[in-house]
Structure formats: C-alpha cells, structure tokens
C-alpha cells in the first residue's frame, strides 16, 4: 500500500470534514478560474489584436469614448463630423507627409461609419457603413463570414449573429429603426435583412449594419442645408457662395417622400450631396504603423476631429482600469484560496491529537518518522489537489452556466472551455500551499512518541 493510498484512506475515515475542507479549496479555485476565464475573455475582447484598425477618426473629446463607441458599440458618438473629413482632410493630411504623393501610398482603406440609431426590436445599435467594412479583418487574420449578401442597396441590412438569434431575424426580415436623437421616434423607413454574419466574438455580433446611403435617406438623417453650411463653417471649412448655392440646390432636389411601405431596392437611390452628409467615425487602415503615427499627427493638427490609434487607447484602458481590476479580483480570489488553505491546516492539525495513536501504530509497524510525515503531507496534497481539480471543473462549469447570460447581457462571447495558461500555474501553487499547510501537522506526526502514544 503506497503512502498516498494510506493518506487517502485516512481522509476517507474523516469523510465529512475532508469533503468540506476540499470543497472550500474547490470554491476558491472555482472563483480563481472564473476570474481567469472572464479576464481572458475581456483580454480577447479588448486586446489590440482584435482591432484590425490603425486609426479611428472621430469627434474631439474623449478618445476612449470614441473607441468604445466605434469599435465596441458601447455608448453613442459625442457628435458627427462633416463628410469632408473623409473626402478632403484625410487625403490632404496624408499628402502633407513627406514623400507621399497620393493618399493611397500610405492608406489601405478608410471606411465611414454613421451611428446613433437603434433597432426598434431589441435596441441593437445600427451602423451605417459601406460594403468595404465587411472586406476588412475584424480581428487579426479573421475575416467576416456571412450567409446571404452584403447590403449593397440603400435599404439593405446585414445583421450580427446575436441580433439574428435574439430577434429571430433571418434573410428578408424587415425592421425599423428608432432615431438616436432626443425625441427617439420610430423612423418610417424599413430595412430588409439580406445577409447574416457568422459569430465573431466581437461587438459586430450585436450590431445591425445598414447601407450608409440608406442611412442618409432616412428622413431627418441628412442635414438641412442651413445647418450643413453652418456646421461646415464651424469646422473651419471654406464654403463659397457658389458652393452654398450648390448645397441649397442639391438639398432642394432631394425629394423627401415617404419611404415606408414600398420596395426601395426597386428604384435607384437618391444621391445625397456630400455636404449634407455626416459621419460618426472613420476607420482607417494604414500600410504601416509609422504611417499611422504620422497620419494621426497631421490629422490632429488644426482639425476639429481627432485621430487616435485604438490599440493605444485600449492598451491604456487595459493597463489603468481593466488590468488593475483584474489584479484586484485575482488578489481577492487568491485570498479565498489562502483562507481555504488555512482551513486545511486547521482541519489536519486538529485531527492530529486524535490520531496520535494511529500514527504510533504505524510507527510500531515499522513506519519511519519521515514516512508518517509524508503521509500527513500526502493528505494535505490530496485535499489541495482534489479541491483544485474539483474547483477547476466547477469554475468552467460556472462559466458554462453564465456564458449565455454574459452573451445576452454584455454581447461578449465566452468560450467556457478556453483554458488560460495561468490555470496550469494554479497547480504548482496548490502543491506549494499543501506543503506549507501540511508541514506543521506533519511535524507533529514526525515528533510523535510511539511508546507514550501507544500507552495513552
């Protein structure tokens, strides 16, 4: 009979106490594993690798607010930018960089995004963009997979997997939008789902993408000529009387008829003049990181928009807030494990006075002091490792149960069986803890006087 088998038998003899002690370790480890899994999910969600964008151009103000809104669809954009930021400022800024003749020398693509509205059903964020959005990598090396078509026509939409699942929408489903402004009215226009995106594990899963032209065609989304001209001037753009006349003429030519209840795909969309359009954000992918830094510098000089590298913003968020929160959670859960370890110590140490005779019998049968010390240490190891393995399973089990809830509430996809390397580190830590808490009771066993204990 080996020493671990003897240790196991001794634990079995005190089944209730042993189980409760192991359970306390298991609960501690369960919490540690849950924190690690959630942390890993947060890491993946906010990790720089998951943002396939070099620069994010948005309104001046909070760079973090812009990133959260544009990339993670958390919150609304503070304000919109004139379309000229996309068509003039961006290429001009690129050209101001030494050696750059054409913007395409350093820019792979620039994708406009308009945001603010939500779906009437489910309140999912609506994002107006171009089909180019779906050609980019949503994460490093990962491209969008879809069923159906991209939203090529004005009132086409493609929806994220969570939207499809929760709203029960499929291709040809129709839906309305709630205006993102103060009044929050329901728009008359109806969009038709033409494509479904495969799950990505990103905020795209809970986003409804509509054709950006269709977004502007919604009544109230394009700027009235007076507002548009005044906004252009606010942003420092020159608007000549000739341009002003063109804007007024173009706006007057755009017929605001009722879009509801008829098939918009059946006729060509009305062209919206650029100066009547606004953009919430522009996603830019540069050809190199150096180009990204230089372009951001040029864009941020003298413009009312701001360009940030989302990677840097997210890294800062992770470091300052998420990282510290993670450390705090891990510290608290580690404390729970330490308390459980003290529980093991108390349980074994208290049992030692009752087991002096048992130890003396083993010694009388020829067990050395080291042997009885090892048996007690073995008990501590079995409790810690048994509790640890149970805790590992319970931790992942907890995440299995919580995953659908997290997904529905936070839109974050959680793989309960994703294994964090830190989980492997738990076991050497548990072995260390077992040795530590088993040492003193083991020493008591080691020092047991055989003759005295047998005579007691």
């Amino acid at each position: 009979m080996n020493l671990l088998a003897i240790a196991f038998k001794s634990l079995k003899q005190r089944a209730l106490s042993s189980s409760l002690t192991a359970l306390s370790v298991a609960l501690g480890i369960m919490l540690v594993v849950s924190v690690l899994v959630v942390n890993s999910v947060v890491d993946n969600t906010f990790n720089q690798k998951s943002v396939g964008v070099s620069l994010l151009i948005g309104p001046r103000g909070s760079d973090l607010g812009n990133v959260l809104s544009a990339v993670y669809r958390i919150g609304k954009p503070a304000e919109n930018l004139p379309w000229r930021v996309l068509t003039e400022d961006l290429p001009n800024a690129a050209k101001r960089i030494g050696g750059v003749k054409d913007a395409s020398d350093i820019i792979d693509w620039a994708i406009p995004m308009t945001m603010g509205d939500v779906t009437q059903e489910g309140s999912f964020p609506v994002l107006g963009t171009t089909p180019k959005y779906f050609k980019m990598e949503y994460a490093s090396g990962k491209k969008f997979q879809k069923k159906g078509e991209l939203p090529v026509n004005s009132f086409d939409a493609i929806i994220g997997s969570q939207v499809a699942r929760e709203n029960g929408w499929d291709i040809s489903s129709q839906f309305s939008l709630i205006h993102g402004g103060a009044d929050g009215h329901v728009h008359d226009e109806k969009f038709t789902v033409v494509g479904l995106l495969a799950p990505t594990g990103t905020a795209n899963d809970r986003t409804v993408f509509v054709n950006i032209e269709g977004f502007f065609l919604i009544s109230g989304h394009e700027k009235p000529p007076e507002d548009a001209i005044s906004r252009l001037r606010e942003f420092g753009y020159e608007v000549t009387p000739e341009q002003e006349a063109v804007i007024r003429e173009a706006a007057g030519g755009h017929d605001h008829h009722d879009h509801a209840g008829h098939d918009h795909g059946a006729h060509a969309p009305h062209p919206i003049p650029d100066d009547l359009k606004e953009v919430s954000f522009i996603l830019v992918r540069t050809k190199s990181s150096t180009a990204s830094i230089m372009l951001a510098g040029e864009l941020n000089e003298g413009m009312r928009a701001q360009a940030v590298n989302p990677i840097i913003v997210i890294s800062r968020l992770m470091k300052l807030f998420v990282g510290n929160t993670r450390k705090l959670l891990l510290f608290l859960t580690a404390l729970i494990v330490v308390v459980a370890g003290i529980g093991i110590f108390v349980s074994i140490y208290n049992s030692m006075s009752d087991r002096k005779r048992e130890i003396a019998i083993m010694r009388a049968l020829g067990a050395s002091r080291v042997t009885v010390f090892s048996i007690i240490l073995g008990e501590s190891l079995l409790l810690c490792l048994g509790g640890g393995i149970l805790g590992l399973l319970m931790g992942h089990g907890l995440v299995v149960v919580a995953a659908p809830l997290i997904e529905s509430q936070a839109g974050i996809m959680v793989n309960p069986w994703s294994f964090d390397v830190m989980e492997l580190v738990l076991f050497p830590i548990l072995i260390g803890m077992a040795t530590l808490v088993g040492f003193l009771p083991g020493l008591t066993a080691y020092r047991t006087d055989v003759a005295d204990s047998l005579n007691d």
């Binding site: 080996n2 038998k9 083993m362 009388a364 049968l365 020829g366 067990a367 002091r369 055989v450 003759a451």
Partner: protein, 224 residues
C-alpha cells in the same frame, strides 16, 4: 532467530527531573523458535522491555542483539526498518487502524519495510485465522475476537523472526483467549518464529514451557 540481551538499562526522567530506573537486565536470551511467556507485576517494565527489544524505545545502555544485529546500535531509521522487516508486534488493545479493512490492516503491516505488499499472503494469513469472509470489513464491524485475530495476522504479515505480544488475550473473552493464544503459538511454530509474550494470566502462562518472571532477571536501581 535468537534474542540476546546484555547489561540493558532503561530509565525514564519524571516531570520533576527525577530519574526512574525501569530496566536493569544483565542477561536474557531466547533461542531460535523458542516461545517464552513473561509475567510480572503491573508497572514492572514488561511493556518497556518489549518496546526496547522492538526498537520503539531506546535503551540507556546495553545490548539487544537479534539474529546478530544489535538493535541498540542502529540509528532510529534503521530500527524502524529492522522492526518492519523482522519483528511482529501484537498489542493488548489490538491497535487496528479504523480507516482500513481487515485485509488493508494486514497489508499495512507489509507496507513499511520496503517490500512489495503481498496480497495473496495477506489473504492467506486472514484465512489462517478464520477471517476469509471478513476481508473487507473495517475494525468497527468486527468482534473483539476477530479484531485480535486480524492483529495477529498483521503481526505475521512480514514473516518476522520474532513476535512480541503484549497481553494479547487481556481484552478478549475466555473462549477467544484460547483461540487467540492457540493461533499465535501455532503460527509461530509453523513459521519458526520466536515468541515473547507478556501476560498477567496464570492460565495463559501455564501453557508455555518457559515462563519468565521479570523481577527474576530485572533488577532496576533505586530511583535518584
């Protein structure tokens, strides 16, 4: 196996610091396969003598030579190993481990000598003491007589050359006394094991050819 004790002295220090001599044996021998019963008054040092022979307690001075090995000269780990391999010990209170079944208690007797546990031998021993149907029962489920039989089987598990028995029949009823005694003696005879048994019972003692009274050969000095 032969046991030879020379000039053995053992004393305890009382809490007040007073030295209390317990053993002072000039010479005591047991021949190979001999069965000796040791009688004497309570507190006379019988159990201490067994403990010193088994190496559970150290002597102050003198020799305890078992099959040519002076147990008193061995380091503690050496005494443990020697005990595990060469000495069987039956206690008055059986001292079975409650967490283990009858079979496991016997296997435990084999576990500490570094030899591989011989499960068939353990089964055979329990069969020999009439417990083949109680192999998987824990001590709490066994009668007093059965527990002592398991203790005898455990003491013989390592095929010892010396069996020390400290009042093995004291806690069993009359019917079982006979059985246990018969069992121990037969097992020792069959396996050529030397036996040194402590008893208070004249009935038990009278069954042995050699009866030793401790006070006849143990002359402890006066307490200091």
């Amino acid at each position: 196996m032969s046991l030879s004790i020379r000039n053995l002295k053992k004393s305890y220090v009382e809490p007040g610091g007073r030295r209390l001599p317990i053993l002072n044996v000039d010479s005591f021998d047991i021949a190979d396969a001999e069965q000796v019963v040791l009688i004497g008054s309570s507190g006379g040092g019988k159990t201490t003598l067994l403990n010193v022979i088994a190496g559970v307690t150290t002597a102050d001075s003198g020799q305890v030579v078992i099959d040519g090995t002076d147990v008193t000269k061995l380091p503690e780990a050496g005494r443990d190993r020697f005990r595990a391999l060469r000495i069987g010990y039956v206690f008055q209170t059986f001292n079975l481990l409650p967490a283990f079944t009858a079979l496991e208690n016997v296997l435990l007797g084999m576990s500490f000598g570094g030899r591989k546990a011989d499960r068939p031998h353990a089964r055979e021993l329990l069969k020999r003491v009439g417990l083949e149907h109680r192999l998987d029962h824990r001590p709490a489920k066994l009668s007093v007589g059965e527990q002592q039989r398991v203790a005898v089987a455990r003491a013989l598990a390592n095929r010892p050359s010396l069996l020390l028995a400290d009042e093995p029949t004291a806690n069993v009823d009359t019917a079982n006394q006979e059985n246990v005694l018969k069992l121990i003696r037969e097992a020792c005879t069959e396996n050529g094991v030397s036996l040194m048994m402590v008893t208070h019972s004249q009935d038990v003692a009278s069954q042995f050819d050699r009866i030793e009274t401790l006070s006849d050969f143990n002359k402890p000095e006066a307490a200091e």
